[in-house]
Amino acid sequence: MKVSYYPGCSLEATARDYQESIAYVCGQLGIDLEEIPDWSCCGATAAHNTDDFLSIALPGRNLALAEKIGLDLVVPCPLCFNRLKTASHQLQKGPREDRPYVYAGKTRVWDLLDFLSHPDRLSRIQAKVRQPLKDLSLVCYYGCQANRPPKITGATSYENPQNMDNLLKALGATVPDWSYKTDCCGASHTIARPDIVNTLVHRLYERALEAGAEAIVVSCQMCQANLDMPQKTISEIFRKVYDLPVYYFTELIGVSWKGPEVKTWLSRHMVNPEPLLKRKSFI
């Protein structure tokens, strides 16, 4: 199966572990990820916070490129996904002087998690499981951009999404439900207002532990960075040692499949994600 792929700027660098695990999982499933040639930045938060024109034009360029290719477009970064969907809605209203790209909406834009948890893919993911993630207690953290606002994303379960939960359960893990799965991590405030991120993420740690989780699973590399990178700092500020590894759902698919490159991806994290998996004899 061939799809167009829009990695976004961070998958190339800071989210290299996510990118590697995605490439492995899709490769094993026979899904050919065709990177959009010469794609450009979607504008992320910076564009829609400061300039309406750029906030639509920057993602719009990539939609126009994808439409020319004609394949479904899969997007791993939920913010890129959200911006592409927003631009898609605007551009489909028709050409206008301030809309420099034409996009008829013929290309389906998928959030990666939604794409891989779709029944067609999920059944094949489940079939390849060689070691069920038994007795591993994980909470799924969805973040904001993949599901909200539903008018843009098309999400049906946006207050209590279940697709990541179902995927992890299909891998054999124990997935307690919790009420904070879509509570904001602070997003881009991590650079300019890290205090906001520390407050929000500390809350998430506490609530994950309350739910009985040993680790958190994500589908967004910005969330992963905000949950993983400040863990030591948050432990110091709140005087409580937190040891909650933050896995990408694709990394755990790889673990359940006994993928050979798993340790490479895991080595890129800040909070060491290996001890927990070693204790359960998965690696």
């Binding site: 700027c9 190339e12 660098a13 450009s40 930045c41 564009a47 750029l54 034009a57 002087e97």
Partner: protein, 217 residues
């Protein structure tokens, strides 16, 4: 309502003495002249029906960052409705908003509040106003600069550029966190998560033209 048909916010109270006998200072006793000009402007330019808000407070109650705000989201809507343009544009609230879209999702009157926050931020930038959270704006500016330059964001240079643009390096040097940030950067590089060299996309000129066009529109 007075004989000219205009309302003032505290026409219930006479002079500068409150109903409980205490005295107000001047700033409290200044009345707010409610005008609809700003509301009309916001609705026309953003396409969002702020006038539909009846202060149910659902937005504020679901907002994760109210602890860092000076005006609550429902109050921002009310400010717009009664014409307090300066207060909202000068608020920290609009920059603290993390665009989590919870408010937009839950508003029973389908008001895109996150969109209103975006509009207000954009208006501050357009009018070259002073952002209450200068560091937050600085980050957005260097981020966009990075896109303009190469078509994609070269993450390795992001934090350094932000420190210079915002002047945050001074604060971080003082409180000792600058060294921590540099250590983090080095760890990220060692772990293969930061590239050494940036790359330019072929369509760089096309992107630059978009940045030029936005200034002409």
């Amino acid at each position: 309502m007075d004989e000219t048909g205009s309302c003032s916010a505290n026409n219930v109270l006479t002079g500068t003495v409150r109903s409980n006998g205490t005295t107000m200072d001047k700033s409290e006793s200044e009345f707010i002249e409610m005008t609809s000009g700003f509301l009309n402007q916001v609705e026309k330019e953003s396409g969002i029906r702020v006038s539909a808000c009846f202060q149910c407070r659902k937005c504020t109650n679901g907002c994760p960052v109210t602890f860092a705000m000076d005006i609550y989201p429902d109050q921002v809507m009310r400010h717009i409705q009664i014409g307090l343009k300066q207060e909202v544009q000068e608020s920290a609230t609009i920059w603290v908003c993390a665009s989590c879209e919870t408010c937009t999702t839950r508003c029973p009157n389908e008001i895109d509040l996150a969109g209103v926050m975006d509009y207000l931020k954009q208006s501050v930038v357009k009018e070259k106003g002073l952002a209450a959270e200068g560091k937050v704006l600085a980050f957005h500016q260097i981020f966009l600069d990075a896109i303009r330059k190469r078509g994609r964001v070269f993450e390795t240079a992001l934090v350094g550029n932000y420190m210079l643009k915002s002047g945050d390096w001074r604060q971080k040097m003082k409180d000792g966190t600058l060294l921590e940030e540099m250590r983090l950067g080095w760890t990220m590089y060692r772990k293969g998560r930061l590239k050494l060299l940036p790359q330019n996309i072929k369509g760089r000129e096309e992107i630059k033209k978009l940045f030029d066009k936005k200034n002409r529109l």
